[in-house]
Amino acid sequence: MSHHKPDPSKSVNLTIDGLPVTVPEGTTILEAARKVGVHIPVLCDHPDLHKRAVCRICVVECDGGGKLKAACANDVWEGVKVVTNSPKIHAIRKTILELILADHPQDCLTCIRNQKCELQALAIQFGLKEITFPQADVSASPNIDTNTLVRDMAKCVKCGRCVDVCQEIQSVRAINTAHRSLHYEVTTPYDQQLIDGPCVYCGQCAAVCPVGAIYENDQTNLVWKAIDDPDRHVVVQTAPAVRVALGDEFGLPKGAITTGKMATALRRLGFTKVFDTDWSADVTILEEGNELLQRLEKGGKLPMITSCSPGWINFCEVFYPDLLGHLSTCKSPQQMFGALVKTYYPKISNVDPAKITSVSIMPCTAKKFEAQRPEMNASGYQDVDVVLTTRELARMIKLAGLDFETLPETPFDPLLGDSTGAAVIFGTSGGVMEAALRTVYEVVTKEPLAPLDLEAVRGHQGLKEVVVDLKGTKVKVLVANGLSNARFVMDSIRAGTCDATFIEIMCCPGGCVGGGGQPYGNSQIKLQRKDGLYLADKQLPIRKSHENPEVVALYKDYLGAPLGEKSHHLLHTHYSTEGKNHWAKTGH
């Protein structure tokens, strides 16, 4: 294969619609056309996924040949004359679009993807006035399981993006294409429910779906109902990655930090208290950091692996039940918050925990599943009642008619609202590791980590590693994001070839900034969100979790010490070798 691998150091000269352009070898026709300002329409193509070239909407003519080529999947070659615009090509593309639409429900106005749909955008771009092919009967009802993801396969355009992300990027293989011709479809093995297969609910399928075929189960109605009930004390927590993505929904620059506007919006929506998951992220660092030190001192199972990412936890339970002992027993920040908001918070605020509705705003669809796990009731109630994704929160703000861009900035409510720079970077790959090391290093060496910015674990490469010197003990740490990278790490542990001590694993590529519940985007946008989080870290007055005054108060007034008895009961959990199915089936 290497023989014909393109060499990007070589240049290729060609013309696009008569315009000369020079690009590196290995550039697709699609990319070359963008260089001269021609945006060839695409539907199945996605910048972060493999080429499939199945929708054929991007066809172009090369050197006048009768057969057209898919611009997304064909590299340019020396001297080729590409035509992207001609009446013939327009007619063919329009026919293809009409063929897709003739097999697609015409219910755009009530579709969850209305105005965010790539197919709809194509219809607008093509100026389509009518579909002259007879409309297929596409009236299958959506499939919902576990209140997490909805699959409305009547809307599926069979682009294969979801299959690619599930199989190749995440290595989960919960969905695939099956059958042929008119029966060709995206489905699960034997049409089983997602809960009965390996699906980890990461929602990456929903994140790449161009239409309304796979999406988060919208639970905003439950929150509106709770807010409307005068007997309910409705509290909300917001995950770190939400604040740098929410602005996308309102036309703000990508990666803009919207923390203050978001807090104001949540108050205006009617939440009684607006708290921050960053606060419990700091708590997580204290628990997890001490757990690591305890394992190091007492010879516990190493490497220890972080447990903040519920998609990752599902993955580990399904595929690596023999290695569950490596997982930190710490609950995720969402669930730590949930347990404390119905125990610690009522105690210091004189609120009846039975009346609290605990809502979280997450970048994540797997968090919806995590909150439902039956063991997540340490407070005596379900710790987190409703989980909304970033996209769902945006829908509430839009329904309320709030002009997000001009909202004033307000802080979170006190007690469970103060946080640090260490917590805010939880939202991007490497952030939990950096936050943990800022605290662990200082506990061990009695000196602050210098520099505090741990550049080696930043960025969205799939695997990152660095060796930290803890008072003479060299500790290797590893950071992985995306589940195929997680699989690589886990296989090395299973094979006994992993020499790391501490590993951070995030389910989604890029970490939570690329979560399945985030506003639609691609890896470039994820990087801008990451930059937003590191900027937020820099701007915060306190940048180490153990210095968060509200966390110090929590331990002083309520928990005692990290890993203490109360912590053990409220903030730590256990995992099942039976996989996620065990929880789902014995739970609800």
Partner: protein, 426 residues
């Protein structure tokens, strides 16, 4: 004088197909013995001189294909024989597989020697179950006689052939889908490039040739490329196995020299088709399988060669000649063709999956008086254009060939049922 020319099919039906000694008795394995004394370049030189065009349907020059593969340095290389003969009306590979399997095996073994391959695969149509068993036996017998296996003919060359059964999908006749299926994956075509010569079976450089092409190799090696070329047409040497079916008085496989026989000969010659059944008039003939063009009686005197047929807007394709008499409705016939492609589309690309479906719906309307409109006819035309130019693989690109050629010949039949009032209103 007979217009037939048994060359590839020489010996078929006359010997025990599984007997190596019988095969040697009709000249078998002389070519392999000659080839192992030649260099790979010399063998390929003869194939190029022979101007052998791929007999599966695409008519790609075999010599160029072989030369391309020879220059790829990566190893191991694989030899794959496409024996997934799935074109309706096509049963010529079956003749070789069933009656002369050792000739195919010899051809594959020569290819294996040329490319230094260790393994060859024959991907056999799933319905040819009995033939698959026979092929396995023929391979075993060849091994016993040292024509396969280790140290073949004492030349230090090791080569084995494996039989893979298809599972009934027409699209697996498409070479990249065939390789996916061989690897145990779903039989859907791959994105090209990379070409299969570069990234083929198990991602290795691979030769994929049709049964008839590979079975022509012994004759090319033995007679030499020049002699092989003389037998056929100056642009494409050798013979072609043609398959007559439909309303042909006689049906079966016949071997003819390329460029020396007309379509009329094929259909009417007493040694071949013997005319239209029951003395009826010929309405049209369908060449090369369901994916091939439809021809009219006006074109009967076209010479059967790749060049002449292409010039006439027709094509050799797989070698099928389906004869249809005057009683057949072209619309009903095309409905059958389109139904076939609806059944066999792999479904992954839009023009093929959705296009065939919409084509059928229009043909259905065209078969009912007054049901269709001018809009249906214009949609029919743009579907043909779109499917042909923009489909992912050869299946979709050729699914509307029959319809497109028939449109030119039988326009009146297409328009007969179009509602005039609806047309006026539109």
């Amino acid at each position: 004088m007979s217009k037939l020319m048994p060359l590839v099919s020489e010996g078929a039906g006359k010997i025990n197909p599984l007997s190596v000694s019988d095969y040697i008795g009709v000249g078998g394995y002389q070519a392999l013995k000659k080839a192992v004394g030649m260099t790979p370049e010399q063998v390929i030189g003869e194939v190029k001189k022979a101007k052998l065009l791929g007999r599966g349907g695409a008519a790609y020059p075999s010599g160029s294909k072989w030369e391309h593969l020879l220059h790829i340095p990566e190893t191991p290389k694989y030899i794959v024989c496409n024996a997934d003969e799935g074109e309706p009306g096509t049963f010529k590979d079956k003749l070789i597989l069933g009656k002369l399997p050792l000739k195919l095996i010899e051809g594959i073994t020569i290819a294996g020697f040329v490319f230094g391959a260790k393994a060859g695969y024959i991907y056999v149509r799933g319905e040819y179950r009995k033939i698959q068993k026979q092929l396995i036996q023929a391979i075993e017998n060849a091994k016993k006689e040292n024509y396969l296996g280790d140290n073949i003919l004492g030349k230090g060359f090791n080569f084995d052939i494996h039989i893979i059964s298809g599972a009934g999908a027409y699209v697996c006749g498409e070479n990249s889908a065939l390789l996916n299926s061989t690897e145990g994956k779903v039989g859907r075509p791959r994105i090209k490039p990379p070409h299969l010569a570069e990234v083929g079976l198990f991602l290795q450089p691979t030769l994929v040739n049709n049964v008839e092409s590979l079975s022509s190799i012994p004759a090319i090696v033995l007679k030499g490329g020049d002699e092989f070329l003389k037998i056929g047409h100056p642009d494409s040497g050798g013979t072609k196995l043609i398959c007559l079916s439909g309303h042909s008085a006689k049906t079966g496989v016949f071997e003819i020299p390329l460029g020396k026989v007309t379509i009329r000969d094929a259909i009417y010659d007493a040694e071949m088709g013997g005319g239209v059944k029951d003395g009826k008039k010929l309405k049209f003939f369908h060449l090369g399988g369901q994916s091939g063009p439809i021809g009219s009686p006006d074109q009967l005197d076209t010479v059967y060669s790749y060049t002449d047929l292409r010039k006439a807007g027709l094509g050799v394709g797989s070698g099928a000649i389906v004869v249809m008499d005057e009683s057949v409705s072209i619309i009903e016939y095309l409905k059958g063709v389109t139904e076939f492609f609806i059944h066999e589309s792999c479904g992954k690309c839009v023009p093929c999956r959705e296009g065939n479906k919409q084509l059928y719906a229009i043909l259905q309307k065209l078969s009912v008086p007054g049901a269709a409109t001018e809009n249906d006819l214009s949609n029919l035309r743009r579907l043909v254009t779109t499917m042909t130019a923009a489909s992912f693989c050869g299946l979709g690109q050729t699914a509307a060939v029959a319809l497109n050629t028939a449109w030119k010949l039988f326009k009146a039949e297409f328009e007969a049922n179009v509602s005039k009032t609806a047309a006026a209103a539109a």
